[in-house]
Each structure stands twice: as structure tokens, then as C-alpha cells.
């Protein structure tokens, strides 16, 4: 964004300060002579009304500059310049939380730290045992580390201190000593980066470190929840300690989970340690120095480029013969590691320096060329340019003489330097749009006043500039006129105009891409940030189509029918299609599979299946196989007449069936989840079962070409097994169906469905995030909201979406209908006639939306297509940020990624007319979607 637009004056500043010799500034009562400077008088007049305030702006240049200047004079280097390189980069790091026994006689100590640079502040409080562990409170004085500041009466802010980790890396951390007697139930905190004003939370909520057992489990504990599996004994010791100290507080009602935990506790007496990844935009200041020397022997120019940029640095370079600065490839020889780049430029990797960071390169340039042009490229595809242009180094002596003649000017104000001063805080102030959480898991809250600062500094800055320009002209006019000077003045004014225009431009089109993306180089398509694909999210930009309904098996040739729709579906904008269950099945719909390796189903035979997968691949749509892993119908009866003996390639016996369903008399272990009672549930704890299933999935991937999975009834077994299967089959995308009932009180759906979504989140968590899950919660809440006109339900008590999508958007696969809920079954049908409101919601919100086949090929088709193309056009993805702007009885409205606004419900809403310009993009019954123009 702004980084680039800042460059011009920064760039100048360096140039100028070298160029001018230092002379203290005095006004000479010059005899003004009419013959020489009408023009300048004119300038002066025009400036004379600007109020002058800062005479100190006109400072003599620093001695270092002079030194450089002199050294340059004394060598045969006829050009040397240092260009600042500013760039922003997303760095990944971690927040870690450690609870251990400190050195001082066994007191427990909580350490919170972060390994990214920044001005980190821990914003924290405690919840006391008495009030159920939910409220924030200030800790007792003795717990507060030095430097803590109380915030109102409920929190403390403690700055993190710099220290070194055991590996010697710099990190920031704060240690809090726990006082055993203080009856503290938990420590709550968020981490704040004062530099960027960003808040770092834990899955969108406060971090919560429980320090006593009787804490209500609200699903947001950092460690307790998973501790019995992942971090054995996470909080065990402390809890025990506290229990001993305050036996009276012990609470008898422990869930089975907790008792398992307790078992673990006794085994381990260590604290816990957890890390959470975070990403942050960090500004880096580097520079590149270019010097040009004439080689006395060959009369060639030797050009030396040196930079302190870390890592691999490539220089794209060329030469030009005239002022048009047209790139040309110079004649060989070229430096080592040089390749020609599309016949327009050369790309050379700079050689790392012997010692220290940075790298350099030496280029020999023939005589007779006008200039040397280059841009720098970092290994990550970031292009660094000079004021949005190529770096330009003049090569001929004449141009350098010109430059020198300018340097001879006896007096000049050091305005550019002032500019740079004014600018530095400015550039630091402008928060990158991208500084917003890349990853919603570490949702950051941008601080409001950062904007205000920006504004203030902008106007202060421009006023400063105007003063400076005025002073410059004053100066010039008070001196003997030189043409060059007026040109200098013009140039700097033009630059100022450019800068202001760039600023205005930036705001007018507020959705402008960032620096890296903007730095489009003429010989390469704009580098897209590499898309990270994970099976939980795909690329993050997926839009699913459920490619069948409950009736699709009836024709017996569904694959053939669907095949014809492939290009149509692709043109609508779908990226993934969910195909029906492919295996031989007891029920025609395919959800009662028997022989997993027999892929002739009522939807078509195996060849037709392969064909349709191929065709979808041709149109660019990935395919999901619907796999039923929870249960499998048997081929044969056992000696009791119970159907639990399998045939086919996977000829399992009753050990493959879970033991806790009396209907099927399995001899396996107890089920790790809920049972599906219509068929034998598979015991995934059996190694041979898992091995067979892994192989089967791999076979499906290879043989059929499926790209991923829709996993049926994953409530039936532990998510950890799913993780196992997914790691083995490496799908592009996977989504599980974890469907259980929402929370109701007296027949009325609760507003708070945190329990429901937590169960889904837990499952995703168990898969280690390798799979997403259908966001049943969102569907349920949409039902109530739309059906009963209770749109307020669409915001949870923290102002976020109330479904899974509010907590873990990247793993939430949103939908409003599927073959079970709707179609001809209608187990839980979406409110009739309001489907488009549902789609307006899920297709504009984060998460990965799914559109049901019946809806695509209905009268909703064009509206759905419009919403999908809007989603794609605005690059809404599964991690997009959503800001709910209205959640009232009859209307819900939200702004997504600051570029799409949506309202559903009959009530009125218009997006705010702030810096963005909204235009209505899609409209239908009781919904409207806007996007920012441009």
C-alpha cells in the first residue's frame, strides 16, 4: 500500500543530502536584480502566504554527508548512491505459554512469550475461584511483574521483556509468579503488539490458563482440554497443589474426561508448554548501494551493487541507451549466475558477502550506454523498486558531471532531509491492510486510533512539506538565481504532488493490494503469494457443489447425467464437487457400503466414475469421494445369525466391529464415538482395520482420481483416526459430517450454541485440522433466524458469527441443505423460500461454502451464480474477516474483508459511506450484497 508511495521522497532525501554542501543558512540582503530572476520572484510571491513556523527545518547537512561527498571526490568513483529499501514481510512466529515451577522454591510460574520482534504487551487478568472463573479481575499486587500498569479495574498490562531463548534466539517474554493461596481459578490474557496495535487471541477469544480444577470448561482452555492426549499432565501438578492447599474448594463432580486427566496428572509432575503460531507484518529497512567506477584500462564502467538484504537476492537488470529508459540486454560477458529473462532483462543472483549479512555483485558495462536499470527481487517473490520505478543509475560521465554541478550550489536548505524526518513516523504509522490477521486463528484487532494517528500525521506531514517547499523557494529567491534551482524546486514540488496523489489514490480505492502485489514488473505476471494448500481448507478459495440429491441413484446413470453439467458447474465458479458414495451398497443411495473395492453403484459403474472424475478435472473442478468409514454392512452371518462377517477383498471378521452395539455382537473394542445403529460400526482402534482403510483410500485416490473426501458420519469414531487416514491418503480437501443436535431449552433453540459448535471444533481439533467439518451450527442458527425473524441470532455474544465459522472459519464448511436435510428426505429442511438469504450469508462469509445440487438447478441458479462470482471476484476466502455491523430483529448485516457488504432480512440496511464506495452487486428477496467499487 503506502510503502511504495513513500519511496519517492525517501529516495530523494538520500540523494539530496549528498548533493549539497553544508553551509549555514543566512539571508543575504541581496541586491535583487530584475534581469535574472523574475521567475523566482514570482515563486516567492506565491509562497509568501504560507505561514512559516519552522525555521529549524533549514538545517545544515550533517558532517557524515560531507565526508561521503569528499571521499567520493577523491576516488575515481563517479557515482555512488545508497537507496533505502523498505519492505514489509509477513513473518511467522509463535506465542508460547509455559507453566512451570520457578527457581524460587517451587512457586509456579507462568511464562508468556513471543519470538517475533515487536513491542509486546500482555493484557491480562485473573478469574477468581468464587465467581466461577468467568470474569476478568486484577491480580493481587504480588503477582504483578514490574512495569505493570492497571487498566481500569479489571486488567493489567505488562510489557514483555527481551531475552534470549536457550537456542539463543531473541524473544520477548513475561513471567508471572502464581501465588498458591490466592484462589485464582484462571489467568486470562491476550497479547498486544503496540507497534501495530494488533491483538493476538486464542482462537478468537482470550487465552485462558486454568490454574484450578473447578473451573468451568468453556471450551477455550489453552491446555486443559487436550492435555490428556497431547500434553500429558498439562496442568496436573498445579491443580494438585492447589487442591491440597484448599481442599475445601475441591469439587466432586468431575466428568470422565477430568478423571482421565487426573490419572495423567498423578503420573506427571511437569508444567505444560504450548505454542500458537502467529503471523505479523514486520517492516524491514535495508538499503542498496550502487557505485560506478571507470575502469582505467578498459574504459568500461564497473558497477558495484551492494545490499544488506538477507537471503537470496536476485537483481533484474538491463541497460539503456537514452533517456527513454528502455531496457536492453547488454553484451556478454555477464557475471556468474546470470540468466536471460524473457529476452528483456538479465537476472543475476547477487553473491553473498564473505562476512555478515547481505550480498553484492559487480557488473562490467560497456562504454556508450546511458544508464543501468535494475530492480531487486527477493527469494520470496517480493520485488523491490525505487519509487515505483526501476532503479536508474546514470553511466555516462556527462550525466554525473551534471550531478556534480548541482552539488556545487553554494547553499541549499536541507529540505529533503526534513522531509524524510517527517516521513519516517508517517510510514511507520500507516497500518498495512495486510497486517490484519492472515490467519483468523490468530485474529488481531486493528486499533481504531491507528487510523486517527495516520490522519493526524498525514496533515502534519503535508503542512510540513508545504512549509519546506516555501522555504526552499525563499532560499532560492534570496540567492543568485540558477536555473537548476528552480528546476530542483519544481521537481520537489512535483514529487510532493505525486505523493499526495498517490495518497489520495490509495484511499479512493481502498481495497488496493499491498506493496508486494503492486510491484508488478513488466516481464512477469504479478507474483501471487504462494497458496498454502492443506487438506482442511484446500486453497482456501474453494466453493463446493454437492453433486447429487437423494434421488440421484434412481436413473442408474447419474455419472453420465452429471458429466454433462461439468462445464456448466465450472462456469458458475465451483472449484470442488462432492460426488455420491461410490461403493456397492445395501441401500441404493450408497450410505450402507459393503464391498469397498466394488465401485459399481446405482450411480454408475466404475468406468463411468473414472470418466466423470476425469471430466471434472478437465474443467478444473476437484472431486470429493463420499466415503463411509463409520460402518460397513457385512456379507455373511456369523453362527448366531448376526450379520458381522465380511467378504470381498476386505474379508474382516467380527473383530472389526465395535463391541458396544448389541445388534451386531462385535468383538472389537468399544466405539470411540457414537453408534450408527443400522449397520455394524467399524472398530477403528484395530490396526488391521486402519491399515486396510488407509490402503483403500490411497487406492481410491490413485485408481479413481478423487482429490479428497467427504467423510460420512464422523461422529461415530475418534477424529484422531481420521487424521491418520487423511495423512495416509493426502487429500487436497476433506470435510467431515459431524451432525448432532443443537442446544435447545424448553423447545426453543438457544441463542448460545457454543456447546454445539465446540463439539464440532473438538472433532476438527482431533483431526489436527486435517479436515474441515460441515457447519451444522450455522445452518441451525440460520433456520431460527430466518424462520422466526430473529436475525439477532446471527451474532454471538462476542459479535462474531455464531456458528463454527465464527470460531474456526478456515475449517468450517458452510451449507444450508444436503441430501439428508433437504431433497426428498427433508429431515431438517431449510426454511422454504428463504434459501437465497442462506446463500447470501454463506457465499459472502468466510468458511468454505457448499451449494446443494437441487438449488443450483432451480430458479435460484442465476442468483447463486451471481453470488459465487462476487465471492470469486472479491477473493473472499475461508479466512476472510467478517465484521458484523447489524444483528437486529429483522436484519443482519456484515462487512467481509472490507470489500463485500451483505444484509439479509427484511429490515433496512445500507453499508456505511465511509472511505469505501459501495455499489450494490446482487439483490434478491430480503437480501442485498454490495461490493466496493474497483
Amino acid at each position: 500500500m503506502s510503502t511504495v508511495s513513500m519511496e519517492p521522497l525517501l529516495y530523494r532525501s538520500v540523494r539530496e543530502s549528498v548533493r549539497y554542501a553544508p553551509i549555514s543558512r543566512t539571508f543575504k540582503p541581496s541586491s535583487w536584480s530584475c534581469s535574472t530572476n523574475h521567475k523566482l520572484v514570482f515563486h516567492a510571491r506565491s509562497f509568501c502566504n504560507f505561514r512559516s513556523s519552522n525555521v529549524h527545518a533549514l538545517r545544515a547537512s550533517t558532517t557524515t554527508d560531507t565526508d561521503i561527498f569528499e571521499t567520493l571526490e577523491s576516488t575515481d568513483v563517479f557515482f555512488k548512491e545508497t537507496f533505502p529499501l523498505k519492505r514489509k514481510e509477513t513473518v511467522e512466529g509463535k506465542i508460547f505459554i509455559r507453566l512451570d515451577q520457578g527457581q524460587n522454591n517451587g512457586n509456579w510460574q507462568l511464562t508468556v512469550g513471543c519470538n517475533l520482534p515487536g513491542k509486546w504487551i500482555l493484557h491480562w487478568g485473573i478469574s477468581r475461584a468464587e465467581d466461577g472463573g468467568s470474569e476478568w479481575d486484577q491480580p493481587p499486587d504480588e503477582m504483578r511483574p514490574g512495569g505493570s500498569i492497571p487498566i481500569k479495574d479489571y486488567a493489567i498490562e505488562t510489557p514483555l521483556k527481551k531475552s534470549l531463548s536457550s537456542e539463543g534466539d531473541a524473544l520477548h517474554e513475561v513471567k508471572i509468579n502464581l501465588i498458591p493461596k490466592s484462589a485464582i481459578a484462571a489467568i486470562n490474557f491476550v497479547l498486544k503488539d503496540e507497534e501495530t496495535g494488533a491483538w493476538y487471541q486464542h482462537r478468537g477469544r482470550d487465552f485462558k490458563v486454568p490454574v484450578a480444577d473447578y473451573l468451568l470448561d468453556d471450551g477455550n482452555l489453552v491446555a486443559a482440554k487436550r492435555s490428556f492426549r497431547v500434553w500429558p499432565g498439562a496442568l496436573g501438578p498445579l491443580s494438585n497443589l492447589l487442591i491440597k492447599a484448599e481442599v475445601s474448594r475441591a469439587n466432586g463432580s468431575e466428568s470422565s474426561n477430568e478423571s482421565r486427566e487426573a490419572e495423567q496428572k498423578s503420573r506427571s509432575l511437569e508444567g505444560f508448554y504450548e505454542e500458537q503460531p502467529i503471523a505479523k507484518q514486520v517492516a524491514f529497512d535495508n538499503s542498496v548501494t550502487v557505485s560506478v567506477r571507470k575502469c582505467p584500462e578498459t574504459a568500461k564502467n564497473l558497477l558495484y551493487v551492494e545490499t544488506d538484504l538477507p537471503g537470496d537476492v536476485f537483481i533484474h537488470w538491463g541497460v539503456c541507451r537514452d533517456d527513454a529508459k528502455t531496457w536492453e540486454i547488454p553484451d556478454a560477458p555477464h557475471p556468474p549466475e546470470t540468466v536471460s529473462f524473457r529476452d528483456k532483462a538479465l537476472q543475476t543472483r547477487l553473491q553473498p558477502k564473505e562476512k555478515g549479512d547481505g550480498c553484492s555483485g559487480l557488473f562490467t558495462i560497456e562504454e556508450g550506454l546511458q544508464g543501468f536499470l535494475f530492480v531487486l527481487k527477493l527469494d520470496k517473490g517480493t520485488w523491490l523498486k525505487c519509487m515505483e520505478n526501476d532503479f536508474y543509475i546514470p553511466l555516462s560521465r556527462s550525466s554525473s558531471l551534471l550531478a556534480k554541478s548541482r552539488q556545487d550550489l553554494p547553499e541549499s536548505a536541507q529540505i529533503p532531509e526534513k522531509n524524510a524526518k517527517a516521513k519516517d513516523p508517517e510510514s511507520a504509522q500507516i497500518p498495512e491492510k495486510n497486517a490484519k490477521a492472515k490467519d483468523p486463528e490468530s485474529a488481531q484487532i486493528p486499533e481504531k486510533n491507528a487510523k486517527a494517528n495516520e490522519e493526524a500525521s498525514l496533515s502534519a506531514f503535508t503542512n510540513g512539506i508545504i512549509n519546506d517547499i516555501r522555504s526552499l523557494v525563499t532560499d532560492i529567491s534570496s540567492e543568485k538565481t540558477r536555473k537548476n534551482k528552480s528546476k530542483e524546486a519544481q521537481e520537489s514540488i512535483l514529487q510532493e504532488i505525486e505523493k499526495l496523489a498517490a495518497e489520495a489514490y490509495r484511499i479512493f480505492r481502498s481495497s488496493i493490494p499491498t506493496f508486494t502485489e503492486e510491484a508488478v514488473v513488466e516481464f512477469e505476471k504479478k507474483p501471487k503469494s504462494p497458496v498454502k494448500i492443506s487438506s482442511g481448507t484446500g486453497t482456501g478459495f474453494e466453493i463446493l457443489c454437492q453433486g447429487f440429491n437423494w434421488e440421484s441413484h434412481k436413473s442408474g446413470k447419474w455419472y453420465l447425467e452429471l458429466k454433462k453439467r461439468a462445464s456448466e458447474l465450472a462456469s458458475i465458479g465451483f472449484t470442488v464437487i462432492w460426488l455420491p458414495p461410490p461403493t456397492e451398497s445395501i441401500s441404493p443411495e450408497g450410505y450402507m457400503p459393503r464391498d469397498l473395492y466394488n465401485l459399481n453403484s446405482r450411480y454408475g459403474n466404475v468406468d463411468e466414475l473414472k470418466e466423470i472424475v476425469k471430466i471434472f478435472h478437465e474443467v478444473g473442478i476437484k472431486t470429493l469421494g463420499d466415503t463411509v468409514l463409520n460402518h460397513r454392512c457385512a456379507h455373511y452371518q456369523n453362527h448366531n445369525g448376526i450379520w458381522n462377517i465380511y467378504g470381498g477383498l476386505l474379508n474382516w471378521d467380527d473383530r472389526a466391529v465395535v463391541a458396544d452395539d448389541p445388534h451386531f455382537q462385535g468383538r472389537g473394542n468399544k466405539s470411540s464415538g457414537d453408534n450408527f445403529h443400522a449397520a455394524p460400526n467399524i472398530d477403528h482402534s484395530q490396526d488391521f482395520v486402519r491399515k486396510d482403510l488407509r490402503e483403500w483410500l490411497r487406492w481410491l485416490r490413485k485408481e479413481i482420481g478423487y482429490d479428497g473426501w467427504r467423510l460420512d458420519f464422523v461422529r461415530g469414531f475418534w477424529g484422531g483416526y481420521v487424521k491418520d487416514y487423511l495423512e495416509a491418503s493426502e487429500p487436497f480437501f476433506a470435510v467431515g459430517e459431524y451432525w448432532d443436535s443443537l442446544n435447545y431449552t424448553y423447545g426453543e433453540m438457544d441463542h448460545n450454541q457454543d456447546g454445539h459448535r465446540q463439539r464440532i471444533i473438538d472433532w476438527i481439533n482431533a483431526t489436527n485440522g486435517t479436515a474441515g467439518a460441515f457447519d451444522v451450527t450455522t445452518k441451525g442458527i440460520l433456520h431460527s433466524a430466518l424462520e422466526r425473524c430473529e436475525y439477532w441470532r446471527l451474532s454471538d455474544h462476542k459479535g462474531k458469527p455464531p456458528g463454527v465459522v465464527g470460531w474456526w472459519p478456515s475449517r468450517a464448511v458452510t451449507f444450508i441443505e444436503n441430501h439428508d436435510t433437504g431433497s426428498t428426505q427433508g429431515h431438517w429442511r431449510f426454511p422454504g423460500g428463504k434459501e437465497m438469504q442462506g446463500y447470501a450469508y454463506i457465499l459472502t462469509h468466510p468458511g468454505t461454502p457448499t451449494v446443494f445440487y437441487d438449488h443450483i438447478f432451480s430458479h435460484y441458479r442465476s442468483e447463486i451464480a451471481a453470488l459465487i462470482s462476487l465471492r470469486n471476484r472479491n477473493e473472499i476466502h475461508c479466512r476472510s474477516t467478517v465484521q458484523i455491523t447489524k444483528a437486529e430483529r429483522d436484519v443482519y448485516a456484515a462487512i467481509v474483508d472490507e470489500k463485500v457488504a451483505v444484509k439479509i432480512g427484511p429490515g433496512h440496511y445500507e453499508p456505511p459511506s465511509g472511505s469505501q464506495r459501495w455499489s450494490l452487486a446482487v439483490e434478491g428477496k430480503d437480501y442485498k450484497v454490495w461490493e466496493t467499487s474497483q
Partner: protein, 536 residues
């Protein structure tokens, strides 16, 4: 203007800063001091002075008493010696419908940039539908006043366009209460042959009918103008130097004859006559009866093409033997265009009398209906209400009407050149522009230029320059319009280039180093070259 250049108040310099003492300026009329005290605007001394310089010219042009008084009040800023004062339009939606300034920071930065660039001022559309949004007589000027303050602080002039129409993009509707009235009485809108209403502005037929809750639109416009005048009195004449009166669709004096055109079509059709609302038909009927041809008053011509069609697809506009060239044609077209002109006259005289004291120039905008200009009948102009054909000059009477009201004429399309028009549309913006300019020159009407397209037409800047520098009838140009595109890297540099070339046509020679010795170079040239810097 032959006058010498250095016009800076010695007295002021002495007061403000010692540093300027050696500048050796003189104060031509002794006015600078007086003005500089009250004005925060940087250049008021010089501009005032330049105003004074042009006074005679203006008198010569404007002979009417009421007008010359205004001129004497030094309301007018003459063009600087090298021609044209440049304005830039602010975004259409600069003020939101809840009366806040949209993209205030962008506009602030933009204003500074324009100021540095040497632009004289900005044009600001003031929307009826925003100011008088809720109820008749309930005005809300706060957003516009805030913006005017920003403009003043930036040291720029302000030219306000009172817009009594609605805008499609960005969506700015008519006042809610007007739309409500329109719902129940669609006859207040222009209507075409098919009965489709054009709901972006009121039909000129209701100008004097009490259709707005018992008041006539003219009364409502008048009260609006009065309210504007009193609200903006602090800016009047200092910052606020021009007011353009909205005259119809898109603010232009015309019928909405082309509103149903499909945008994608390469060649615009001829448009349709818009005389089918109840009141228009009534007037037509009366007129026909009064002129003894009652049968001609039953409706518009029956043999016209539809919006998208070309002139020859029906009989009316045919080059040879088309009904336009008949007695009936003349009857209808005269009536149709006279309605428009008297509507324009009504509004402009209203504006002129309302703002006569206020030291701001009043303008009105007419369209440049340039397609089909090369046919004999000029159908696009006819449907828009300009009875201008190869056999009849339709702009003479329009210019005369502007002159009568001492109003400036805003002419769009200065960026359009014939060579970039589609051949098949038989269009000629340049010839039409010349026609209109000629009429204006004849009646002493000053012209304020505008470009037509949001994104610059190919060769647009050159064409504008050609229009501005060639002759002296255009002394002000209002460039449309600030926004993301305006400041984009694709556009802004060329705009900068354009401004510089306008203001300092000899800059490039200035670049040549050998000129350095040329100290005896004429005063005029160097001053010219400095105009740009001066504005900075």
C-alpha cells in the same frame, strides 16, 4: 494581457516575512493588502489584482447594467494571461446521504495536490436529494459546508453545481419526499412514447404546476437556492466563485431523450422525444389548437425510430423527405425546443436574480449531442430539444437566452475529437462545438469547458488543449472528475502533464541548458513559465 507580471504586495510581504523583502514586488492597485488581511488563501492578492486587470474586457462583453455592477464588485476572476483557469470536479458522492464528507482524507490530499499543481479550484455537485432529502424546506447543508471549508483551507476556489436531478451511478436519488410524490403521480416525470417514465428529474412541464405538496417546482428550487445562498454566504465571492444551476437530466438543459440507450451499443441511437407525460401533452394540445392545427396536438410524431435505432429506420429523421423537414415537423420541433428554452430561461433567471448580489458567476450547462451531426436532421439534438438542423441554427436562441440572464454556459465534450468517433454514428463533436461557440461569441456568452467522459477519451488531453488554447471564448475549464481513476498511475501523470502544458507552454524550452544565459529573455515568457510555480 500585456501587463507586467510581478504582482505582489510589498506591504504584505513586509508584514509577513522579512525574508521576502528583497523580492521587490509592487502592488498594482493597492488592493492586496485589504484582501490579504481577511483571506487565508495564499494567492488572493495576485488573483484580485488580475481580476482588476480584466475588468474592461468584461464590461465590453456584458453590457447590461445589472451585470456590470456585478463585475464591478470584482466577482469575476479573469483568466490568467495565458488563457484558462482550471477547475477539477470533486467526486459526485463527495457528501454522503447522511451529510458526511465521503473519503474526506482522500479529498484533503487531493485538494493539496491540485493546489500544488496550480489548479484554480474545484467543482462540487450539491444534490437536491441530499440537502433536502427528508422533507420540503428541511435543508441540511452541513456536509457541503464542511467540504467548502476544506476547499477554502486548501486555498482553492469553489464552483458549486446545484443538482436538481438524480444520479444512477453513484446512486443519488431525488429527495425522498419527491420520490414519494412521484410514486403516486408519475406525471411529474418525463415520459416517452411507450409511457416509460424518466425518474431522475422532474418534467419541465410541471415547472409552474403546484405538484409538490401545493408548491411548484420552481418555488421549491427557488427556496433551495435562497437557503443555499444564506448558508454559503461566508464563502460567497471569496471561495465560492461560481454556481451552476441544474437545468434537467444530469444537470443539462435537455430532454432525457437518450436514457434508454443500451450502453454496450457502439453507435448510439437517435433517442426519443419525451413529450408524453400528461402535462406536456396538454400543453402541446393547447399549442396546436392555438396555432390552428388541432390534429397536430394529439401526440408526438408517429414516424420516429426508437431509442437505439438509426435515423433512417423510420421516416421522421430521413435526410431527404423526412417529416422533420415538413410543416408539421417544424411545428412540433419548434414547440418542443421552445419548451426547453423557456424552461432554461425560467431557471436561469431565477438563479441570476437569487445570486445577483452574491458575487458568484451563474452558469448553466447544455449538452453536446454530437452523434448524427453529419446527417441533415441532427436527430440526437432534436430529440434532446435542440432544434438545430442543417437548415436552422438552434443554438443562437439558446445563447441569446444565456446572455439575457448573464449566465455562463458550461459546454461538455471538449475532449472529444471527430477522429475518435465511430464513423457509422456520423458524429462530429468538433463541428457541433464550433457551432455552439459561434453562437456564444455572437451573444457574448462566456463558455466554461468540461470534458465529457469519466475516463479520458483517446487523445482527449490534446483535444482539450486545442479547444482551450485556440480561441479565447473559453476561460475556464472544469475537469471531470476526481476519484480513484483520476489519481491512478494510468491517469494522473498525464493530467499533470496536461496542466503543466496548459500553464507553461514553453516549459520545454526552459529545460534547455543553453537558455541559461538568456537573461534578457522577455519578461512575459519567464512569467509565463512561472505561472505554474506561482500556483504552487
Amino acid at each position: 494581457m500585456e501587463v507586467s507580471v510581478i504582482g505582489c504586495s510589498q506591504a504584505k510581504i513586509g508584514k509577513t516575512e522579512l525574508a521576502y523583502r528583497e523580492l521587490g514586488c509592487f502592488d498594482p492597485k493597492g488592493v492586496s493588502k485589504a484582501f490579504s488581511a481577511k483571506s487565508r488563501v495564499c494567492f488572493s492578492p495576485s488573483t484580485r489584482w488580475r481580476k482588476a486587470g480584466i475588468r474592461f474586457t468584461l464590461r465590453a462583453v456584458q453590457s447590461e447594467a445589472v451585470r456590470s455592477e456585478k463585475v464591478a464588485a470584482s466577482s469575476r476572476i479573469s483568466r490568467s494571461r495565458d488563457g484558462v483557469r482550471l477547475f477539477v470536479g470533486l467526486p459526485l458522492d463527495s457528501v454522503s446521504d447522511c451529510n458526511t464528507v465521503n473519503h474526506a482524507r482522500a479529498i484533503a490530499a487531493g485538494l493539496k495536490a491540485l493546489k500544488l499543481l496550480g489548479v484554480e479550484g474545484v467543482e462540487l455537485p450539491v444534490w437536491w436529494g441530499i440537502v433536502e432529502k427528508e422533507a420540503m424546506g428541511k435543508y441540511e447543508w452541513s456536509g457541503y459546508l464542511a467540504l467548502a471549508k476544506m476547499v477554502q483551507d486548501a486555498g482553492l476556489k469553489l464552483h458549486v453545481s446545484l443538482s436538481f436531478h438524480a444520479s444512477k451511478r453513484p446512486k443519488i436519488p431525488l429527495p425522498e419526499w419527491v420520490s414519494r410524490i412521484g410514486e403516486s403521480n408519475p406525471n411529474i416525470f418525463f415520459t416517452d412514447r411507450a409511457g416509460q417514465h424518466y425518474k431522475e428529474c422532474l418534467s419541465l412541464a410541471v415547472d409552474d404546476l403546484p405538484v409538490l405538496d401545493g408548491r411548484t417546482p420552481i418555488q421549491v428550487y427557488h427556496e433551495f437556492c435562497e437557503s443555499f445562498k444564506s448558508s454559503f454566504s461566508p464563502f460567497m465571492g471569496s471561495t465560492l466563485t461560481g454556481i451552476s444551476m441544474g437545468l434537467g437530466p444530469d444537470g443539462e438543459l435537455r430532454y432525457p431523450s437518450h436514457h434508454m440507450l443500451t450502453k454496450s451499443k457502439q453507435i448510439p441511437g437517435v433517442g426519443e422525444f419525451q413529450c408524453y407525460d400528461k402535462n406536456m401533452l396538454g400543453i402541446l394540445k393547447q399549442h396546436a389548437e392555438a396555432t390552428g392545427n388541432p390534429l397536430w396536438g394529439l401526440g408526438g410524431p408517429h414516424d420516429v425510430p426508437t431509442y437505439d435505432q438509426s435515423p433512417n429506420s423510420n421516416n421522421f429523421f430521413r435526410d431527404n423527405g423526412g417529416s422533420w423537414d415538413s410543416l408539421y415537423g417544424d411545428f412540433f420541433l419548434s414547440w418542443y425546443s421552445n419548451q426547453l428554452i423557456s424552461h432554461g430561461n425560467l431557471l436561469l433567471s431565477l438563479a441570476a436574480s437569487t445570486f445577483s448580489e452574491s458575487a458568484a458567476t451563474v452558469c448553466g450547462k447544455i449538452p453536446l449531442m454530437h452523434s448524427w451531426y453529419k446527417t441533415r436532421s441532427h436527430p440526437s439534438e432534436l430529440t434532446a430539444g435542440y432544434y438545430n438542423t442543417t437548415t436552422r441554427d438552434g443554438y443562437e436562441v439558446v445563447a441569446e437566452m444565456f446572455a439575457r440572464n448573464s449566465c455562463k454556459m458550461i459546454l461538455p465534450g471538449m475532449d472529444l475529437s471527430d477522429e475518435h468517433q465511430s464513423r457509422a454514428s456520423l458524429s462530429s463533436p468538433e463541428l457541433l462545438l464550433a457551432d455552439i461557440k459561434k453562437a456564444c461569441r455572437k451573444h457574448g456568452v462566456e463558455v466554461c469547458g468540461q470534458n465529457s467522459s469519466a475516463s479520458m477519451a483517446p487523445g482527449g488531453f490534446q483535444q482539450i488543449k486545442k479547444n482551450l488554447l485556440g480561441e479565447n471564448i473559453v476561460d475556464l475549464f472544469s475537469y471531470q472528475r476526481m476519484g480513484a481513476y483520476f489519481f491512478s498511475p494510468e491517469h494522473f501523470p498525464s493530467f499533470t502533464q496536461f496542466v503543466r502544458s496548459l500553464n507553461q507552454p514553453e516549459l520545454h524550452s526552459d529545460d534547455l541548458p543553453e537558455e541559461e544565459e538568456e537573461t534578457a529573455h522577455s519578461l512575459n515568457v519567464s512569467s509565463e513559465a512561472s505561472v505554474h510555480m506561482q500556483a504552487v
